[in-house]
């Protein structure tokens, strides 16, 4: 039993970290009032870009950086659409996912299923060889993501810029009159969500799977959007939400490794069912928009007649 739990804990970060990173991105964008359905697209381009650079022989960290930047690039398109062109945010988000999945499908076609070394585990680095297995099996992106979590939690709660961002998501007209550049803040938040989504995607290919296949995000981007609702738009709760989903996802392969005869695909389905059930339960108890930024999804226009 102990072995099982240890094994489970060892693989857990591989499932949790991408969900955490992407959900922090969605959180930032939505706290600034921009409804963000894009992570499926951000993660897809991040995963493919990271893999492509690895296959081209680049350093894995360069690949991770490039994956992050690719998410940022796609989010720039989204930001221009919703912030500058005032496009309806649900439709724009879906269009961005289509773009992301389309681009990765078209460009990555010839790079499917080619393994590469990717990001080294800590135990494979010069200084980490003596780490216990539980830590040694991880890579540097795990501490980085926890650091980002702490940073973002601090940023939102304590920093002046965080106060501005929250003001924009709660009441853009009040923020505007207080000298906050609403569009700049929203664009910044969207770009951050793209970068974090891209990083999450790069984690999937470069740090976790060490291979790229089309559709490897497999709906995790949608799950991320649900996790943020379930986390009631609070950074630390995003971690618990990601642990719940990632933890369930991680348990299936462990059970199979133990020889437990459980249908593979029904097992893969379970985290999604769980997410839906948790979302329904949370909404039943607290109301679906509990904790949501007041101006989420609304388009602000100073010249509108107030």
């Amino acid at each position: 039993m102990m072995d099982f739990i240890l094994a489970w804990l060892t693989v857990l970060p591989g499932y949790v970290v991408p969900l955490l990173l992407a959900s922090l991105g969605v959180l930032l964008s939505e706290r600034a009032g921009i409804l963000n359905l894009c992570p499926e697209g951000f993660m897809a381009v991040g995963a493919m870009t990271g893999a492509l650079l690895c296959l081209a022989g680049h350093d894995p960290w360069t690949a991770v950086l490039a994956g992050t930047l690719s998410g940022l690039g796609l989010s720039l398109v989204f930001g221009l659409a919703v912030v500058v062109f005032r496009v309806e945010q649900t439709l724009a988000g879906l269009a961005i996912v289509a773009l992301g999945l389309g681009i990765t499908g078209v460009i990555g076609r010839s790079h499917v299923q080619k393994p590469f070394p990717g990001l080294p585990r800590l135990s494979e680095t010069a200084w980490g060889a003596d780490l216990p297995r539980l830590l040694g099996q991880q890579n540097m992106l795990l501490p980085l993501s926890l650091l980002l979590l702490a940073l973002i939690a601090w940023f939102l709660a304590r920093s002046p810029a965080g106060l501005r961002l929250r003001a924009v998501g709660e009441d853009p007209a009040a923020a505007d009159i207080s000298g906050v550049d609403v569009q700049r803040v929203q664009l910044g938040a969207v770009l951050a969500s793209g970068a974090l989504g891209g990083l999450a995607g790069a984690f999937l290919s470069v740090a976790s799977a060490h291979v790229w296949v089309e559709g490897m995000v497999a709906g995790r981007g949608w799950v991320v959007v649900a996790l943020v609702i379930f986390a009631r738009w609070r950074p630390l709760r995003c971690l618990w939400a990601a642990l719940l989903f990632g933890g369930t996802e991680a348990i299936m392969p462990r059970l199979q490794a133990l020889g437990v005869d459980f249908p593979v695909y029904l097992g893969a389905m379970l985290p999604y069912v769980l997410t839906l059930a948790v979302l329904a339960l949370a909404s039943m108890r607290r109301g679906a928009r509990s904790g949501a930024p007041a101006a989420l999804g609304l388009t602000y226009l100073r010249q509108d007649k107030h």
């Binding site: 929250r166 709660e170 100073r302």
Partner: protein, 519 residues
């Protein structure tokens, strides 16, 4: 980003006698909202140390011209000169930096933030990087100076309206505003609170601030004002001082255009009891009680006025009566039937009609045409076609008839309801609701936002229905409206209803005391 001046340009200063340039000078301002001309060559002149009332009807352009002054709106033409200097203002933040502070009708405070957070946000936006404790200290110091208390750590949405208003005024003052513009500041206050506010405003003027009071309640502010500017249909029609022997009747005539016809009188002949509400209670989404054991009786041919400051349970009462929400406890009996569990359709069939405070919230659909909106409640009766098929030609004919009967302008049957002026839309809504089979009309602020003429048409429609024997529950923040139409009046405060009194016995003081719950 442009560098912001460290200190505001317009600071509270000496009295106009000292020869300083006017605090604010607006000349030849034009502004249109996609075809609708809100301002046409409007002007405004404000001196230092002066309280200046800006009056006019709804839609006269009062708020619009001040939104131009504070650069919320960009004018199509004209000049904005602050303290003698023609500085281009590119947005509300620029205006704030120049010392122009506006307290909007809908306060520009973030509801989920504390007072201190709101102030810190604004101060930092103006280039003053205060910490939260510093902002809280600045707040309480300034509040002390002005002689009131405010909890800097309280969340805005937990404050009363009057407290929010004070928080907003403090915020604007802390930003260094020399010029203070208050948009309809007394509209949501009780008589007592309004007096306190106007006294505060006078004190600020003594300090040398220039203050603009935008209002359509001339009588209320005239005594506190040094100057009055009247606007009508986007133009400035008068700028004078009450001390120069100004006739208030003349001012009212200028604001409206001509003398309004005499208001309708309701001849109350109360008949058989019709509506009986007992023990009605409901909670808001956050669990706080919206209505608390509300009870009332209403007879046929009678108007019961419910006065009260907005947000004291009025909207919830209207929704409970229309059937859009369920009470936690209580009964609503209309004649012999208990309506608590009844669907909106059943209630309509029993003769219950509702005019909500915002017609596009729950009465009309802005995207539907007038013909469709007017037929919305009649289709189920089979008047506009069979059970399955719709008779659009009949819908159009019926709409033409109603529009003609109400001297409707600005739209035919095919016009989208959103494009109609508030007055015309409200008249048509009343025509739909106050039909021959209406037995009880629940009217919530039926004349809010309408000009005098439309208000009178609305009141006439209600009076006509009541003369036919319809009962009316009139819920309004406008005491004049309540007093002119009701036969009995009660006050709603914090979800509780005071005992009704005959309209003849109502005095502003008694009602004021009831409104704040001191009776």
């Amino acid at each position: 980003m442009t560098p912001k001046p460290k200190t505001p340009i317009a600071r509270p200063g000496a009295h106009p006698a000292s020869g300083r340039a006017p605090a604010l000078l607006l000349r030849g301002i034009d502004k249109s909202f996609d075809g609708h001309r809100a301002l046409q060559g409007a002007s405004f002149r404000l001196g230092w140390g002066e309280v200046h009332a800006l009056v006019g009807e709804n839609g006269a352009g009062k708020s619009t011209i001040m939104n131009v002054a504070t650069a919320v709106y960009a004018a199509d033409a004209g000049e904005v000169i602050v303290d003698g200097r023609d500085v281009p203002l590119r947005g509300p933040a620029d205006a704030m930096a120049a010392g122009l502070g506006m307290v909007h009708q809908h306060f520009r405070l973030v509801g989920s933030f504390t007072v201190a957070e709101n102030v810190a946000l604004a101060l930092r936006g103006a280039g003053n990087n205060v910490t939260l404790p510093e902002a809280a200290r600045l707040l309480s110091d300034r509040a002390d100076e002005l002689g009131f208390r405010l909890d800097a750590g309280a969340r805005i949405d937990e404050l009363s309206i009057a407290e929010r208003q004070r928080a907003e005024i403090l915020k604007v003052l802390l930003l260094g505003a020399g010029i203070l513009i208050l948009d309809e500041p007394t509209a949501v206050l009780t008589a007592e609170e309004a007096r306190a506010l106007l006294t505060l405003v006078r004190a600020l003027a003594r300090e040398g601030h220039a203050v603009v009071l935008i209002t359509h309640k001339l009588r209320e502010v005239a005594a506190y004002s040094d100057r009055i500017t009247v606007m009508r249909q986007g133009r400035t029609v008068l700028d004078a001082a009450p001390s120069e022997g100004l006739d208030m009747g003349e001012v009212a005539r200028l604001a409206v255009g001509e003398m309004p016809p005499t208001p309708p009188r309701v001849t109350a002949r109360p008949g058989a009891p019709l509506l009986r509400i007992a023990g009605l209670s409901a909670r808001r989404a956050d669990g706080s009680p919206a209505l608390d054991g509300l009870a009332l009786d209403l007879a046929e041919g009678e108007v019961l006025g419910i006065a009260g400051v907005g947000g004291n349970g009025q909207s919830e009462l209207v929704d409970l009566l229309s059937g859009l929400r369920r009470p936690d406890a209580g009964t609503i009996r209309l004649g012999p039937h208990d309506l608590v569990g009844a669907s909106p359709a059943r209630r309509r069939a029993e003769g219950l009609r509702v005019i909500p405070a915002d017609r596009f919230d729950s009465a009309m659909a802005p995207g539907l045409t007038l013909a469709e909106n007017l037929a919305l409640t009649g289709v189920s009766s089979g008047r506009f076609g069979s059970r399955w098929l719709l008779d659009r030609a009949r819908m159009r004919r019926e709409a033409e008839r109603l529009i003609a009967a109400n001297e409707g302008r600005g739209g035919g049957p095919g016009t989208k309801a959103a494009l109609l002026s508030g007055g015309n839309a409200q008249k048509l809504l009343l025509a739909r609701e106050v039909s021959s089979d209406a037995r009880l009309l629940v009217a919530h602020s039926p004349s809010r936002g309408l000009d005098l003429r439309a208000t009178q048409a609305v009141h006439q429609a209600i009076a006509d229905g009541v003369a036919r024997g319809m009962a009316c529950l009139l819920i309004s923040e406008d005491l004049e409206e309540i007093m002119s139409l009701s036969s009995r009046v009660c006050a709603i405060n914090n979800g509780r209803l005071s005992a009704p009194m005959p309209v003849a016995e109502v005095t502003p003081e008694r009602l004021g005391a009831l409104l704040v719950g001191h009776a």
